[in-house]
């Protein structure tokens, strides 16, 4: 049902936790299924230097949260602005049609964290 990539992230989720004094936090919940991703990021210059994530919900949500941290660390903020749920889904190999919303939730967490970071540091 799930790809080896999804399974691998479930078995060994990456960057689990929460940064102290993060540049930005994105805490998003899918109001239908109540899956939740809480992403904290550190921004240095115009790059995202560090990320930690916590997640609860169905397997692809946990996998999407985990893979997201791998996709975003070290990237320029303007590159991150262009990321879509498809990037997350692709990194996981494939998500069942009924589970695409898990990739959306990860992207929403990223957007919210970046918005929060920019609110604190206007002009980034």
């Amino acid at each position: 049902m799930y790809t080896p990539q999804v399974a691998e992230h479930i078995a060994n989720p990456r960057n689990v936790g929460e940064l102290e004094n993060p540049s930005g936090t994105g805490d998003v919940t899918n109001q239908v299924c109540m899956d939740r991703i809480r992403l904290t990021v550190r921004v240095e210059g115009d790059r995202l230097s560090e990320a930690r994530v916590k997640a609860s919900g169905c397997p692809p949500t946990i996998a999407a949260a985990s893979v997201l941290t791998e996709l975003i660390v070290g990237r320029a903020l303007n590159e991150l602005d262009a990321m879509t749920k498809q990037d997350v889904a692709n990194a996981l190999g494939r998500l069942p049609a009924a589970k695409q919303h898990c990739a959306s939730l990860a992207i929403e967490a990223l957007r919210a964290a970046l918005t929060d970071a920019r609110r604190c540091r206007p002009g980034v």
Binding site: I10, P13, V28, D35, R36, P59
Partner: protein, 400 residues
């Protein structure tokens, strides 16, 4: 080590059963309807199996009709009675297997009235609700013997007493069916003591092959056959007998009868040990359903703050097979209808896990599962965002 704890879904076929079936493929391969020796030898094997299945549930061999599994047995019982007596009113419960629920819903769409009885928090149907639901138009009551998710045993004998009262008062066409797929081989099942007219059972839940089952039809009960063709199975189920499958069911039934007591005691001891250890080692766990009135091989648990499917997948990655009542599709939860009917909260249903043992389950398997469960629940809870953190920065969204 691979650990299989999903025996309510299906079981491994025992070597003795496979051995009994093998000659049916290339030695005794005649059509059981044929007059010649090849056919008669096959027929003799089918009839021996019939006696074994009858013996397991204390029925007469002539009361056993072999079918293609539990789902077909339920369909034949419900549709067969509805067709014979008019699909006027059927009483069933909200916690039935889809084989019964979807069949009743199909009849409802075709014009029948169906009452779906609720269950109490313990997962058991209330007798007053049964009594109140029966009308003069009721032709069938279908209540499962043991529930497939919680193992909860329903008061079939008491329902049969209610049915008898109504019959004595003139409601001759009222019948009682029970889906005993999850109770046969786990607890004593005696059609006479239960007082049912129709009882469904399946081979693959008792270490037999898939694709074969039986409907026990009490002598004198008439129903309309649903599979038309030849006059097989005393004209109640057309189609060449699945001799190998039937022989496998017969042998599995024989073993289930001979070893029922020791198997049940062993499964109960391991199941109770499992539950006691889970409760001792993992915080915030609840056992779903009545802990006494249930089959000895099922444990249905809810782990607070954990998604059942994530738990299932994480355990599967460690070679441990279990089941969950939690399912999320397209961002909408489609939780277990059984746990929902019992009044569990959304979160409790979401965190539910079913562990089901068989006669083959070992203590070692249980210990491996316990260690993995403890570690995995802790890991998933560790990963869960704090409740109180939600307010710090929150962008609540409705995503698709």
């Amino acid at each position: 080590m691979r650990v299989y704890l999903d025996n309510s879904a299906t079981t491994a076929v025992l070597p003795e059963v496979i051995e009994a079936m093998l000659p049916c493929f290339n030695e005794v391969y005649g059509n059981a309807q044929s007059v010649h020796g090849f056919g008669q030898r096959a027929k003799a094997m089918v009839e021996r199996a019939r006696r074994e299945v009858a013996s397991l549930v204390n029925a007469a061999p002539g009361e056993i009709v072999f079918v293609g599994g539990g789902t077909e047995a339920d369909n034949l019982a419900i549709r067969g009675i509805a067709a014979a007596y008019g699909a006027r009113h059927i009483v069933t419960t909200k916690i039935e297997h889809p084989a019964v629920l979807a069949t009743c819903q199909a009849l409802e769409e075709a014009g029948a009235k169906v009452t779906y009885l609720p269950v109490q928090a313990d997962g058991i149907v209330n007798l007053d609700d049964v009594r109140a639901a029966i009308t003069d138009e009721t032709v069938l009551i279908s209540v499962m013997y043991a529930n497939n998710e919680t193992g909860a045993i329903q008061p079939i004998e008491a329902i049969a007493a209610i049915v008898r009262e109504r019959r004595e008062r003139g409601q001759k066409h009222l019948h009682l069916h029970t889906d005993a797929v999850q109770s046969v081989g786990k607890i004593p099942v005696d059609v006479k003591r239960l007082g049912v007219d129709l009882l469904s059972l399946s081979a693959h839940k008792i270490h037999g092959p898939k694709g074969v089952g039986a409907l026990c039809i009490k002598k004198g009960v008439h129903l309309t056959k649903q599979m038309t063709g030849g006059h097989h199975e005393r004209d109640r189920r057309a189609g060449t007998e699945n001799v190998a499958g039937i022989v496998g069911l017969g042998r599995a039934a024989e073993l289930a009868r001979l070893h029922l007591g020791e198997r049940a005691a062993r499964m109960r001891e391991l199941r109770d040990y499992f539950e006691q250890q889970v409760i001792a080692r993992i915080a915030q766990v609840r056992v779903n359903g009545d802990r006494e009135r249930r089959v000895p091989n099922v444990s249905n648990l809810s782990f607070a703050g954990v998604d059942g499917e994530s738990l299932l997948i994480a355990l599967d990655l460690q070679g441990i097979a279990v089941s969950t009542g939690s399912a999320c599709a397209s961002g909408s939860l489609e939780p277990s209808h059984v746990l929902t009917a019992m009044g569990l909260t959304r979160e409790q249903v979401r965190g539910s896990l079913r562990v089901s043992l068989s006669a083959l389950t070992s203590r070692e398997e249980i210990d491996v599962a316990l260690a993995a469960l403890e570690e995995t629940v802790a890991r998933l809870r560790e990963m869960r965002p704090d409740e109180e953190a939600a307010g710090i920065q929150s962008s609540l969204s409705r995503s698709q």
